[in-house]
Symmetry: C2
Subunit: 470 residues, 2 copies
């Protein structure tokens, strides 16, 4: 293999230019295989040099893809060569495992090197007692900032924000500001995109992008070029709201302020991109009946996560079946009913799921509110009815050609309209009601819905048959 | 109402500070109601002043929430006062309607004021002939850039990129660079976050953040502080790949290069945030069987979109039912079979959907590849089998207590294991196979899957009953 020999001694920036390591995503299948090989053969030096070739985000991906056993081996081989920044990119589950393996003393050594928001993200994974041990050992300034972050609610802007930001008085000039940045940040790599203009009490007056700062003359005063219209968030705002602000206004950063409008920190878009992905994934997994969608979880963990959802579905299936059992006599006499009844139930379930999906997403993105609520419910009702009519016709035709019985055909049609209409109405009302009572509509809507469409589907179809035919 | 009288004459920045208009999202329900009122009463001046209070993104939201009729009225009342930037924030459906109403001449007037990527986004909505009419009328530079953008594939980095970027030779100093920016960008509002360092042929050598540029001395040469390790994308890269790069490495911008590594433009994170949301939504709607999830579509459009999915489901339901019809004699003799069979089918469908959801998401986020594929399929197989055993036990118990028949109970158990095991295996293989043949797994997986779990569920349960009992 050509990669085998020439990897160790090539410098970090050159390696990626070599054929075979040139990938859009850094961590190619070849590198992945090589790393696994070095772990299993215990080649410490080689493993370290391979890891150093990767961006911390790719190192994190690599750790996430290892089995529990290999993860342990890998971390032991890497030892202190593991870049702590990697932890920030890990998903919660693996982060937890890694922290357990490397221990709190490694954390104490490494945390002061990280930005406060990254340190907080890692500390959030520890249990209370371990966390307070680590926090106590931090240098004083770092400790105070971390402790303050933990005083804000979980998933709030306060937890997410970075404490380093640049703020200047409004009477400063562009030249003064640049000179100050030069003396303060020389040689340091920081990700700043705006400076904030504040009054003596640190209250926010305006915002100024670095690009604008750079394109104005040195003598210009900040107050003459700063932006008055800009968005800020309170430190207690939920991260979901913050992420909607970034999406709505295409922001790159947003200042975080306290109740007196004093700047406490800044949230940068790269942290929000994670939140957006997480929130969308929560909806996807919720609607699919999966609690944690990690493909890395062990068989047992996965099984446990799926089990609770399946048990709820078993109960709803039993409810639907007990509706069928009410009509055992009818089915015994006309077996065609048993053949056709799943069609009615399944069409209702699918139509309802369509409506639920749209409603859940519209709620999550705040598109649905009290002004357009009525219109939305009305539209779904109409769609349910019109598709109900179409599918009533189609399924009647089907039932008639199959069993050559006009009565069964008509009953099928009526049951189909009823079920699709109810699916449309409840597909909107169920998520809205759950949302009102602070239950996540993405997770719970579809259980309620399919229970109802199954029950209604079986009951109208079999009930009508019992009433009309027998 | 207190807002009624004092709105028109307050300036844009002051208005939001007034109680009642202070919302995290700008467009409050009060403002929305006020706007609808002014449209319906034809109050032109008031409507214009209300619109001017809103951020273009909020103006777009407002337009999206109007009925077709009100949208028409509103655009007529606004006339040339409609900020064209608003178009950029509209979703495709409404953008299309708005363009139809305001006409191509309004576009020709407004497009040169927009950034190229925004202009391209709007032009993409026009049909070929209208588009070429508009493009021909554009000023020369603008026209060339737009025409070039359309030469790149749809959804590629080339369509998404902004053509304004800053590139400098490596031997320039910080001072030279800043001075150049001052003379060139004075008074202009641009969103730049990095400058690119290029050779005389415009080939990319390095990247330098504005923050780093600002914190170095004027005499420092760019080549001494520029970043060598940075990401760039080829102009033909698909936007989904680009968005994964931003997510993976927490980027704020990325240079777009041609095959010779010459810089052509830059993609900024705010455009990618939209892509991330869109891609996640495609998965959500795909899995939910909805083609377009807009809550604004008309009843007829919505019905049409849902119909095609429901007709596919009708066909799969018929297939499942024809399996049942093979066993009509058995059901006639033991009606309990009709009562219990939906439980087996439904549990298989739900377990399979869980697996499909995880697989679809893992494929979309590139977590699943050829290295961990086998492990993933194996895990899902195990999970399917283990949950199969648990639910076989539970459902046997249920069947026995319900119908007091040990044979039916055992058959139920065997059918349940079989179906959950197959659901686990196919829940992984179906999306992977679809992906291989370039069919979107999010949209098509669940139809295939539930068809199979229904057929297997009914067939094993009823077939075993026919074989064992009768």
């Amino acid at each position: 293999m050509s990669i085998e020999n020439d990897l160790i001694n090539i410098s970090k920036d050159k390696a990626f230019e070599k054929e075979g390591f040139k990938s859009l995503f850094g961590l190619t299948i070849e590198v992945e295989k090589e790393i696994i090989l070095s772990i299993e053969k215990g080649k410490k030096k080689r493993l370290i040099s391979l890891f150093q070739l990767l961006h911390p985000a790719d190192q994190a991906d690599m750790l996430e893809r290892l089995s529990k056993n290999n993860l342990n081996l890998c971390l032991n081989l890497l030892g202190k060569k593991l870049e702590l920044e990697t932890l920030v990119f890990l998903d919660d589950e693996v982060k937890n495992e890694v922290i357990k393996i490397i221990g709190t003393s490694a954390l104490i050594r490494a945390l002061p090197e990280l930005k406060t928001d990254d340190a907080v993200e890692i500390l959030e994974e520890l249990n209370e007692s371990d966390r307070s041990i680590v926090i106590k050992k931090l240098p004083k300034t770092e400790r105070m900032l971390v402790e303050e972050a933990f005083s804000f609610p979980e998933h709030s802007a306060g937890r997410l924000m970075q404490r380093d930001f640049l703020s200047f008085p409004e009477y400063w000039t562009v030249g003064q500001t640049i000179d100050h940045m030069r003396t303060t940040f020389y040689e340091e790599e920081k990700n700043f995109y705006s400076v904030f203009i504040t009054d003596p009490a640190q209250r926010l007056l305006g915002e100024l992008s670095l690009a604008k700062l750079l394109s104005n003359n040195r003598s210009t005063r900040l107050k003459d070029i700063m932006q008055f219209e800009f968005k800020s968030v309170n430190v207690n705002t939920d991260q979901e709201e913050v992420s909607l602000l970034f999406q709505q206004y295409g922001l790159v950063n947003i200042p975080v302020v306290d109740d007196e409008k004093r700047v406490l920190g800044v949230i940068i878009v790269d942290d929000i991109v994670d939140v957006i992905t997480e929130e969308a994934e929560e909806d996807i997994f919720g609607l699919g009946g999966v609690r944690h969608g990690s493909i890395r979880s062990s068989i047992f963990e996965t099984m446990k996560g799926r089990f609770s959802w399946l048990i709820i579905n078993l109960i709803t299936a039993i409810i639907a079946s007990s509706v069928i059992s009410l009509f055992q006599n009818e089915i015994e006499k006309i077996v065609a009913l048993a053949v056709l009844m799943p069609i009615v139930a399944s069409m209702g379930g699918n139509a309802g799921t369509q409506t639920v999906t749209v409603a859940v997403r519209a709620i999550a993105t705040k598109q649905l509110n009290y002004v357009n609520l009525q219109k939305f419910v009305l539209r779904e009702t109409w769609v349910g009815m019109l598709n109900g009519i179409l599918f009533a016709f189609l399924s009647s035709l089907l039932a008639f050609t199959w069993f050559n019985d006009i009565q069964i055909a008509l009953i099928m049609g009526v049951a189909m309209i009823t079920n699709l209409l109810i699916a449309g109405i409840l597909g909107t009302l169920i998520p809205l009601t759950l949302e009102k009572y602070k239950i996540d509509p993405a997770i719970s809507s579809s259980v309620f819905l399919t229970t109802v469409t199954d029950v209604i589907g079986f009951f109208t179809f079999l009930g009508l048959a019992a009433w009309v035919i027998l």
